[in-house]
Subunit: 195 residues, 2 copies
């Protein structure tokens, strides 16, 4: 049963708040941090700019809330790396692609990729995530030399694939089945990690 | 012998024109298409906004001029692909990285990556380059099945590497010697193309 959504101007409440957040993720995702404005986000959410300020403060504050990824490297990394070692590469590619099939993950992921690469504001966010959260955790669990370089090479291939598939949307990668990409890219990840 | 550059306000001429273009490449590169403005580009070049309009027209026109890459896939692709087949992967990685050591190529390359991924304006440019210029040329020269998918997988890894090394600047990829990256990434490219 879906709750009918009124067409009138919202008076506030959790519904407006979550619509503003969704609108922010889409605006930042499409136009980058610099291009999106409180006004454009408010228009997209169907609310007054004042309401956006009321709930989220400045554009920078709103961006921080929108960029709060539900991705927990401390949970995910051990699970992915702890299975059979010769399947780790394929498991990583499959995990990432299947996550991006979820609308909420994909929208936020595209927003983060766009803002991280697109300008000065998003970059520290993704650089911090890579250097403090993701790479050291992966590196610590690999008993191989050059673990940080290996982890970052993995990140470079995963990021490039996500960018072409989801941000730019260029075929044939954009519409390739997940199994196909797992078979092609999985061995790359495997080789970067262990060869 | 270098020509002394006057500190006064430039009156125009080819020197101003090339400084505006260089400033545009840096502004678009740092702030993305949406974030850069005619005003900020003029300030960076030390000229009036009116002079920018005079030489280049609108921001979109200026972007088109700044994005005019001196990269000729019709020249480069045959050379890279026509040497010994088992070294093609390494040759591609080395060619790209050595090109990016040149200041002019790197600045323009960073600008293109940032604007292509960062928003709606740059994306069609890089999508057009990939789908019309680069991928078909590579695919035509490969006598393998799935040539377009293979070429695009190559592009995904090269783009991811360039982004981490030159746009985000995250170590250890950011300061790895070219030979190291050629040895690590070359076999990936080789496998995507021929395995």
């Amino acid at each position: 049963m879906t709750k009918p959504r009124g067409r009138g101007r919202p008076k506030g409440g959790t519904d407006s708040r979550s619509r503003i957040l969704a609108a922010a993720i889409e605006e930042f995702g499409e136009r980058g941090y610099e291009g999106a404005t409180i006004r454009s986000i408010a228009a997209r959410a169907g609310v007054d700019s004042a309401l956006v300020h009321h709930y989220f403060g400045t554009k920078a504050d709103l961006f921080a809330d929108a960029a709060d990824v539900p991705l927990r490297p401390d949970v995910v990394v051990p699970i992915i790396l702890s299975g059979p070692r010769d399947e780790v590469g394929e498991r990583i590619v499959r995990y990432v692609l299947e996550s991006f099939e979820r609308d909420d993950v994909r929208r936020r992921g595209v927003m983060l990729l766009r803002t991280a690469v697109g300008g000065k504001v998003g970059s520290p966010l993704i650089i911090g995530f890579l250097t403090r959260e993701l790479l050291p955790r992966v590196a610590r669990r690999l008993d191989v030399p050059d673990a940080e370089l290996r982890a970052e090479l993995v990140a470079s291939q995963i990021a490039g694939m996500l960018m072409i598939r989801y941000v730019l949307g260029v075929k044939p990668i954009a519409d390739a089945p997940i199994d196909e990409l797992v078979a092609r890219v999985g061995p790359t990840i495997q080789r970067y990690l262990f060869d």
